[in-house]
Structure formats: structure tokens, C-alpha cells
Amino acid sequence: MPTERLLMTGEDMRRVIARIAHEIVERNRGAGGLVLVGLQRRGVPLAHWLASAIEAFEGVEVPVGALDTNLYRDDLTSRPQPTVRATTLPVDVDDKVVVLVDDVLYTGRTARAALNALMDLGRPTQVQLAVMVDRGHRELPIRADYVGKNVPTAADEQVRVRVGDFDSVDEVVLVVDASLVAAEDGARA
């Protein structure tokens, strides 16, 4: 039986979003020229969440896009077949600062694929990475610029970020003995 341990409540997540929103604006000296790009699937609602937070205190509407990295992955043949979802960028990313948004940073392969995907779509001046949870176990030289929470994990555990759009609840949990539920969203790394 897999068991879940609560890491973050919805309230915790809201606070983290607010903090990261401030960090992004601080580091980029404002919200002008920013584009938030969520990685399919749960990075997308998180990106929208961040955009709302920025708009709330900065009064600037930051464009939000969605990026599907499946067509750029290097590990397609070792995992269950993923569904390719929409890639939509509301604005040209040339000469913009793009903040990639994802739920969990793990091996780094998704972020690597996202960088390649982004480069085929335009020439941003800078790309940054924001994640809700960094669970370690990196396989590539990639780090996040903005981290909600660092969670040391074991390889057979799984961090699951739930957001209302998909899951009817906002929370972050640690799933122990994840092999039993790997099928559910094992595609997420």
C-alpha cells in the first residue's frame, strides 16, 4: 500500500507562489519583458498562478504560455507512452526573459527538453526556471532559479504536486513506495 505524507498544504503553496512572484520581479527589475511558460501539465496552472500573483502587486499582466516537452525528451523509449499536449506561446519569445515553470525538479531531463523546445520556438535573452519542489537526484547540470521547497527524497519515493485545475485540491505530498502507483503519472520526473 502506498502511503502519502503531506509536505505542503494549499495555504503553504499560496505563500510560496507569492514569494517566488516577488523574487522573479526583484531579480528581473520589474515584470516588463517577462513571459511565464508552464510545462505541461501541472506547470501550466502554476504559471497562471504566478502571473496572477505578479499582477496583484505589480499591476502588470505577464503573458503565460504552455510548453509540451514530450517531443524533445531523450527517454521516450523507456517510459509509458505520453500524450503530446498543446504548446502555445501567446507572444513571440524573441528578446524576452522566459521563466519556465514546473511542479517538480527531479532528474533535470524535463528542463533540458524544455530548453531545447524553447530554442526551436525563438531566441529569448534569458531563460530561468521556477519549480514548486526540488527533490534532488539530478542527472544533468541543471538548477532552478526559484524553488518553493527543497525536499530530500529517496529514489523510490515520489513527490506529487496537486493543483485545483486537475486535482480538485491544492497540496504537495510525498508518496512512499511509489512503485505501486507509478502508472498513474510515472511520466512525470
Binding site: 509540451d68 514530450n70 517531443l71 524533445y72 525528451r73 521516450l76 523509449t77 523507456s78 517510459r79 509509458p80 507512452q81 505520453p82 500524450t83 503530446v84 499536449r85 498543446a86 504548446t87 502555445t88 531545447n116 523546445a117 526551436d120 520556438l121
Partner: protein, 354 residues
Amino acid sequence: MTTRAPSEKATTSSTGTPGMGAGPRRHVLDLDDFSAAEIGALLDSAEAMREVMDRSIKKVPSLRGKVVVTLFLEPSTRTRVSFEQAGKMLSADVINIGGAGSAAEKGESLLNTALTLQAMHADLIVIRHPHSGAPYFLARHLRSTGVVNAGDGMHAHPTQALLDLMTMRRHLGSLEGARVVIVGDVLHSRVARSDAFGLAASGASVVLCGPPTMMPLDLLRANRDGGPDGGPDAGSNPGPGRSLPNVTVEPDLDTAIAGADAVIALRLQTERQAAGMLPSLREYTRRWQVTEARMALAKPGALLMHPGPMNEGLEITSALAHGPTAQIEEQVTNGVAIRMALLYSLLTGTEERP
């Protein structure tokens, strides 16, 4: 009947149902083994592929290092180019075989050609063949190479049906309850057969219309006798003729087209007239040509589709073919997208193949 061996099961399981079953799908031979969910997922994925097609750099690396062979043993440019385009946009290596100078032309058997390609570690063979069942034959003999049917004789053309479904779904939304008319030479049409299976799985109803000389006899008999064709168990079968699901036959085009959501005009091979199957092309045109007046009987905004290449002025009027209801070019675009989705789905997912 002869007694049957229980041991025989073992020999068929390895070659059994082409797609579903346990592991991921290896072959696409027809749409008859596709569920609504699988079709829906492919169409979703094809929508994502259309976004890739719209980019200025129309290439993603997902099938890097995969080898796709198009083996076209019947003349066809558009389908082959569509597969080639799809493969290249996904960075697969696409090798085209067929036509002048090929092994097939030098008398090598299809089996040996396929085994050779497998030995060269081709990941997928896309086959077009003049004879029904040729892709099944390959699927039966290939251990590690997948097979995609790009049209076999008068049997099936699953990727054409998928692009038709995609085109209809984009414009009609759900296909549940849609009425789709397929008009023309149904007997010889692999498109009509695969469309019928795909539409049935998607909840649409299909009306087949055309000259009685170009309609499968079993469907005509079912129509005439008002019940399923065949033996005592025919009652439990899905369609009026046991060979196709959920289709009706209506010889009169005006009646067939009334209230239709979409009309698919089939290409008429003019040789059929010389073969004694039609009195004259003029009479065909008068009775079964899709015209503006006839399209006016369909639902407002009904789609007009054609698998191409068209005989303008024969099965379809020129004005309609280039008019606002025609989806001909959209079908071509969707064809590339759906083939990208299919190649992606077949060539990713698992390293180990049975």
C-alpha cells in the same frame, strides 16, 4: 466440424490482435481495433502536431535515430509524401522504396523485401499495396518491425480515415450522432471501409450511397432483405451487412444527403465504366455527383470532403471542390499531423518489443 487444438492458441497469440492486447501498439492495419478513446488520444496528439507544422522551424527531435521505410508498391504521391513529411518533421530517417528500380520491380517477393528491411533494423514499414491484406501478411511475418497500412487494395486506409475524423472533429466538435454520407464507388474503396470503422467507433452513423454495381453485394442483400446477411447468428452482428459496422445503404443521393453533417465523395476510377460497371460517366454524374444543389439538402455548414485526387466535374463539381464547404486542403494538412501523431505513438513508448 473438425476438432480444434487447444495448442493452436499459442501460435496465434504472437500474431493476434495487431494493435491492442498487452503491450503498446506495434501495427496500424485498420481502424477496426481502435477504441473511441485511442482515436481521441491520437486526434488530440495530432492537434499538438499541427502546432509544430505552424512553426518556422518545422522539426522536433523526438524520433531522432528512428528509421521509417515507406514501401509503396502502387503509384501514390500524396500519401507517401505525407508520411515522409510527417517522419521528417519528427526527425526520423525516412527511406522511400518503390517504383522504378526497386527490389519489388526486380521480382523480389514482398516477404523477402520486408525481411531484408527488418534485418536492416528498420523500425517501421509504411506499406501501400495494390492487394488487400498485404499489411497483415507483413505483420504476420515481422518480429521487430512495425507495420502501418497506407492503403491495401480495396480493403483499408486507416490513416486516411483518421485524417477524415480529425477534419470532421475540428469542424463539428464531437462526432457522436453525426450523419456522414460516403458517396461513390464504395465497393472498391478502402477509404469507405476504414471511415466506416472509425466513424462507428466515434458514434457517428454512416450512409453509403452509390451505384448498385459499386456496392458490396452483402450490404445490398442486407438492404434488400431488411436484415443481416448471413447465417443464423447474423442477428447478433453489429451492422446490417455483417462486414461493416453501423452503416446503411441508400442508393438515392438526394435522400442520403438530407440532413447530413458531412459528405465524403469518393474518387471514381474512370476505368470502371469500360469494365462494364457503369452505363456512362454522364449517367454517373447525373445520379451521384455531389453538386451545390445536393449539398443544399445537407445541414447548414455541412462539410464536403474528398480523399483525393479529385476528378472535378465527375464525382464533384469544380465549384464545390474549391468552395467554402470543401475541406480538401485541410484534409491534406491534417493528414500530415495525424501521421506525425501516429508515428510518434508507434515509435516511442517502449524499447523492448515482443
